[in-house]
Symmetry: C2
Subunit: 352 residues, 2 copies
Amino acid sequence: MAGSGEQEALVGNKQVIFKDFVSGFPKESDMFVTTGSVKLKLPEGSRAVLVKNLYLSCDPYMRALMKPQDANYGSVFTSYTPGSPVSGFGVAKVLESGHPDIKEGDLVWGVTTWEEYSVIKAPETLIKIQHTDVPLSYYTGILGMPGMTAYAGFYEVCSPKKGEYVYVSSAAGAVGQLVGQLAKLTGCYVVGSAGSKEKVDLLKNKFGFDEAFNYKEEHDLNAALKRYFPEGIDIYFENVGGKMLDAVLLNMRIHGRIAVCGMISQYNIDKPEGVSNLMNIVYKRVRVEGFVVFDYLQQYSKFLDTLISYIKDGKITYVEDIAEGLESGPAALVGLFSGRNVGKQVVTVSLE
Amino acid sequence: MAGSGEQEALVGNKQVIFKDFVSGFPKESDMFVTTGSVKLKLPEGSRAVLVKNLYLSCDPYMRALMKPQDANYGSVFTSYTPGSPVSGFGVAKVLESGHPDIKEGDLVWGVTTWEEYSVIKAPETLIKIQHTDVPLSYYTGILGMPGMTAYAGFYEVCSPKKGEYVYVSSAAGAVGQLVGQLAKLTGCYVVGSAGSKEKVDLLKNKFGFDEAFNYKEEHDLNAALKRYFPEGIDIYFENVGGKMLDAVLLNMRIHGRIAVCGMISQYNIDKPEGVSNLMNIVYKRVRVEGFVVFDYLQQYSKFLDTLISYIKDGKITYVEDIAEGLESGPAALVGLFSGRNVGKQVVTVSLE
């Protein structure tokens, strides 16, 4: 252990800094990349963990953190601090640990900051990576927060039954692609929507959705859903909100379920769109249930065992869209909201 | 039994006729009272039941039946037929029965038509009244469909726990007044809203709500709810929709529940208001669940035993607004939508 008087060399620490709160669509220029410095040594007695970040995750919820803290949203999210680095989920290697359960050399995933080296002050929130025979980047996606979101949302909130009709929006994204495949494994009929021909092809040809469509080519979403679901929808996995939700409500079956994971269409508009067809919740006795993955973390090890065996058995496929280097971080993050990414958007910081 | 050739005398049969489909607020002139005739004898071999109607129920869902059948609503409701009598729940006395379980002289409640005498062609939907030591009109309300709606909606959909914060809109109506009292019996803190000082006084002084307010006097419903629920709302029993729902969503607590019974504010406008604050469903992990009483009818006898003992023990109070005679039916029904009634709106047809 270094003595308290010992000087430690500072090293450069490239960072992605959040400039200021954003209204409308976020732009690359709402962030900037700079190089600060960091001492690669924890202070004496610290219980924090010093990590080298390897992969960072771009997730839609991060848009909410770019808005000022609103009392109504305060229960889940804490806004970014202007002038400080972006934070988010990531995979990292431990360089030094003040936490008894975490050791130097451990690989972990959890909330970190968008920079080369981070001091994580709440190391109890980190999860140690035990299975390293899959790509480590998977822990930002299918084996991390988005994967667990899909798993909990589908099995716990949707209460799926074999033969049911399942619709997934944003279906080529990190969460949607897994929800659709879990639904297929459950014996459901699954239709997904996405925003490009390439994504629609992925859904049908790689992820095994029964059908898929490009919502941008449908001027009447209600008609599109009636075409794909002539019998109606039992389960809607909601990632989009707004007009899509309004159209889905018109097509729900009796005792249908809507798991509300997010509403990405609403994140970049100052006043959310109104949803009008809510009386269908009564007529069709629909259950609409919001959820956040944090309420299901106790199921993580069961989830992980299940998913790893699905991946190894080739029952589940996973597509990532990898941006190289912190410099590409702002564009990668912003691209989520225009649908630029195909598959789970990851940013690599370092390969080791 | 009369021979098939025997002539039976026709008697006058006063009826409330539905004129034509309605847009906007229904008016008395959307119905008219006329006197037809009826033969007080079932055809030979009929399995129908001939009844004399005693009490008729005015319920908000009847507004939906005044619109043309919409494919999206078809699952629960069948629209009225222009030129035919209004139908709805009622209490009736059986004059003749072709159904083996129903006998002449039985008192029943169920769906009947707004006229003096009705031939009920689906008598298996009628429920025999066994307890006649309470006012028979109660079977249009607290002991009938609205009461069962309150009971199932509160206990089955809201999953209430002692100490939770409960908000009931349209709280002085047939359903709301019972929901609030059941919530008090469960040990909840209960606030109701209604549209007049008289109703607010009823809620506080007769039904035992902890607080109540006149929503018409609140220009900012969000602020009003924050005043009455500084800790937020665990359970919202939704009878109103629109702006009220939007304000409630801003005030829900984590893992809150919204039982959607109806949305009376939306029934008389052609395009429903948009509800914008739905992302709170995610942030607060709210469950929003629509229900219709028909899914819970197997619990009716348990409900009835419970409610009758509550009524006899003075634990539950009930307020009716009784209109005398079929002639007063159109005004009574229309008055629901302007909130004219104080308590459950009933129309008497005959006292015996």
